[in-house]
Amino acid sequence: MALRFEILGKFNRARAARLTLPHFVCQTPLFMPVGTQGTIKGLTTSQLEDIGCQIILGNTYHLALRPTSVLIDELGGLHKFMNWPRGLLTDSGGFQMVSLLHLADITEQGVTFQSPVDGKPMLLTPEESIQIQNRIGADIIMALDDVVRTTITGPRIEEAMYRTLRWIDRCIAAHERPHDQNLFGIVQGGLDPVLRDICVKGLVDRKLPGYAIGGLAGGEDKDSFWRVVAQCTAALPEDKPRYVMGVGYPLDIVVCSALGADMYDCVYPTRTARFGTALVPEGVLKLKHQAMSDDTQPIDPTCECMVCKNYSRAYIHCLVTKDAMGSQLLSYHNLFYMLKLSRDLHSSIVNGQFPEFVCNFLQKMFPKGDVPQWVCNAMEVAGIDITSCCSPFPLSLIDSQAATVKFSRKNSIKMVHTKD
């Protein structure tokens, strides 16, 4: 094991911790921006340090294709290659293959796929995934798992869960750098509590340095989503980091943190920036919207980032989707927003003000008190009283309105509550 996980503060299930990795001492809860090909689109590594990024996620599948893990290894590892002194995490590559390549197929041996280079059939085994990740050299590496969509039902879910357990042993056996890289196991089992329970137990028996909750953020309904997170976080060991893969939206991160999760990753903040959308406490702001062309306020008047301190919505509006600078500046703001959210979660837990933070967050996002029912349900399980920010009216009535687009005041902030 090459990490230390020390809990600094708790509120019921929520925890704030110090996660010491070979390259960086992190504070959790934390959000990891996705730097697919050894860079976060449009930002320099010093900008990422400036805005408080602690761990960058790299995609093994992409890095193995270009520049190849052998080259990265030869040049001294990914940290050195991209000049990133802080934490790195690589995924197993399996998920990317299954989601990006049409002809990927999973067998007991591994993930078979057609090479995007020459079209030849290829095989990624658990051993190979770990070997590649050993060469890339991230602080945290992920086990190859058998990924299935959460929306799929039936025996395939069970097969995938058991295969994930069989593969974890092959991953552990293949791992050559356990003293400077941490192998995380991934809990699978779809939306079935029995399968999830078997998987958690199986992985915990292996005494891994950390655990991920996989197979979520794939289109399942929100109530199923948070229940799986709640079940897994409750069953995972207290003294190990818990990473919810592919999450997500600011609201999801707040809910998962309340339920005891510590780490998140998602392409959403940078991807949505490239489409001209900014994350703001009220939800999202569509900078492409015509109303922005004469709006002289910053993107988020409460944001302290370089972009909000200097630029108006009107100026960003004339850049977005036309100039590279538009996505550079919006990505900067969006990542700043996510990293600030991580810091706020951490400090509010440490300072014993977590419920106040959650209420404040929900109040801004749902000023009419129309907090979605799934959030209320999750918060009840998390032991966070949010009645002060929920409207006294029957929620089911307002919930249907919340899903529609709203225009607030004169600045017509377009708020779309992420409801997927």
């Binding site: 090909q37 050894g38 860079t39 689109k41 449009g42 930002l43 320099t44 590594t45 010093s46 900008q47 400036d50 992409h62 270009r66 520049p67 080259l71 030869e74 040049l75 001294g76 290659f81 991209m82 000049n83 062309s293 004469d294 709006d295 002289t296 370089m306 301190k309 200097n310 630029y311 108006s312 009107a314 100026y315 509006h317 004339c318 850049l319 036309k322 100039d323 590279a324 600078m325 996505s327 550079q328 500046l329 900067y332």
Partner: protein, 416 residues
């Protein structure tokens, strides 16, 4: 604005000081080309890693803002300095920009100049142009010109002079009537006709302008006829006012312009280099002092001024673009990493390259100023042009992909 010449070189080059917008800038200087007020890929926090005050001069076209933002909003925010959060920088407005706002002489007519932009073609009248200037409040603005290439007929050339002069008078009258601030640089055209060039320069000098904008170079005239044409213009101009030029961007062209007494240049060349994956590597003074001869010989591969980071030879090259370079990119990243970024089409490639190239080109201008002050500009110029020629010959013989691509970038810069 205030300008004074501090040193003259025997060939005609001059070193001066331009005081504008609270900045004191030494000339010859490079105006950084921008897209909507910011360098194409360098965000304001990274802009501050470039040397100051050298990097404070920013050129933009008011036409960049024809779509997407209202003049009223720009005006409400207090103009470009406020809108861009760059209060210390000096903004120079020029309607023509070889990338985003290209003059289209065939569509220009007596009422206005036509420009090809990403949002379509626009005919800009002096009145409209001055409204933009009033809202954006640049420190310096150039007057509207009917820019024509070298190959148009004599008749068309003279028409363009008439129009340009009329628009100059219109712009000045409107500026006076509306009390528009900023220093005015009168645009001088005249194509490749010496007499037309002289006439236009003399006429513009008679107007109440604070500087000059020499337009229509790099548009088909030959490298050989250019010095004579340039001199025809500069010799007709008063000594004590700054001269800006559009269309000369390559190092040799800049040296040619400086020798003819031009003070301000723009950096479109850097944009083309950056897009093409090229990094400037010719040795500058600062670097010569820190680097051994071996290393220098190494960097002088290709054509001696630049390398193409897209080339596969850099795949495993963990050295910096240029040893001794103090730019953000060279302080932090290797050729191998930038080569990878280009391979996978990541935007950071352009960001890092634009930083290095801008930093390096600003150093080239510093070197030019130093040699003028030291009285060695002519030697420096000759040495530079010769060493470039020497390297160009074997490079052409090698005929590698890199070299031909390098030539293409220059051609692109020349044609733009």
């Amino acid at each position: 604005m205030n300008f004074s010449v501090k040193a003259l070189s025997k060939g005609g080059g001059r070193a001066g000081v331009l005081q504008v917008g609270g900045c004191s800038l030494e000339t010859p200087a490079l105006l950084l080309s921008t897209r909507k007020g910011l360098p194409a890929f360098i965000s304001p926090d990274l802009l501050s890693t470039l040397p100051t005050p050298d990097s404070r001069l920013l050129q933009f076209s008011p036409l960049h803002f024809l779509e997407g933002i209202s003049l009223k909003a720009v005006s409400e925010m207090g103009g470009l300095h406020q809108m861009l959060g760059l209060k210390e920088h000096v903004f120079v407005a020029n309607p023509a920009d070889p990338i985003l706002s290209v003059p289209d002489y065939q569509s220009s007519n007596k009422i206005g100049a036509s420009f090809e932009t990403p949002s379509g073609r626009f005919l800009i009248k002096p009145g409209q142009y001055m409204e933009m200037i009033s809202s954006m409040r640049p420190d310096i603005w150039v007057t509207l010109a009917d820019e024509v290439p070298a190959w148009v007929s004599d008749k068309r050339n003279r028409v363009s002079i008439q129009r340009t002069m009329r628009w100059l008078d219109d712009c000045l009258a409107l500026a006076k009537a509306n009390d528009t601030g900023g220093a005015v640089f009168g645009s001088i055209i005249g194509g490749s006709k010496i007499n037309d060039r002289k006439y236009c320069a003399q006429e513009v000098s008679r107007r109440n302008v604070e500087g000059f904008n020499i337009v229509g170079f790099g548009l088909g005239e030959s490298m050989d006829e250019r010095p004579t044409l340039l001199r025809a213009v500069t010799e007709s101009l008063p000594e004590d006012k700054p001269r800006q030029i559009s269309g000369l961007g390559l190092p040799e062209e800049v040296l040619q312009g400086v020798a003819a007494g031009v003070d301000l240049f723009n950096s479109t060349y850097i944009y083309h280099l950056t897009i093409g994956g090229f990094a400037l590597t010719f040795p500058s003074e600062e670097i010569e002092r820190h680097v051994s001869v071996d290393q220098l010989n190494d960097t002088i591969r290709d054509d001696g001024t630049k390398i193409n980071l897209k080339a596969t030879i850099y795949r495993k090259d963990t050295s910096r673009i240029l040893e001794g370079c103090k730019c953000y990119t060279c302080q932090n990243h290797t050729k191998a990493y930038i080569n990878h970024l280009f391979n996978v089409h990541e935007m950071l490639a352009q960001i890092l390259l634009e930083i290095h190239n801008t930093y390096h080109y600003l150093g080239f201008f510093r070197k030019i100023r130093d040699t003028i002050r030291e009285g060695t500009f002519e030697e420096f110029r000759q040495k530079f042009v010769e060493s470039r020629r020497e390297h160009a010959a074997p490079a052409a013989a090698d005929n590698t992909d890199t070299d031909s691509a390098a030539d293409n970038a220059d051609t692109a810069a020349l044609c733009a």
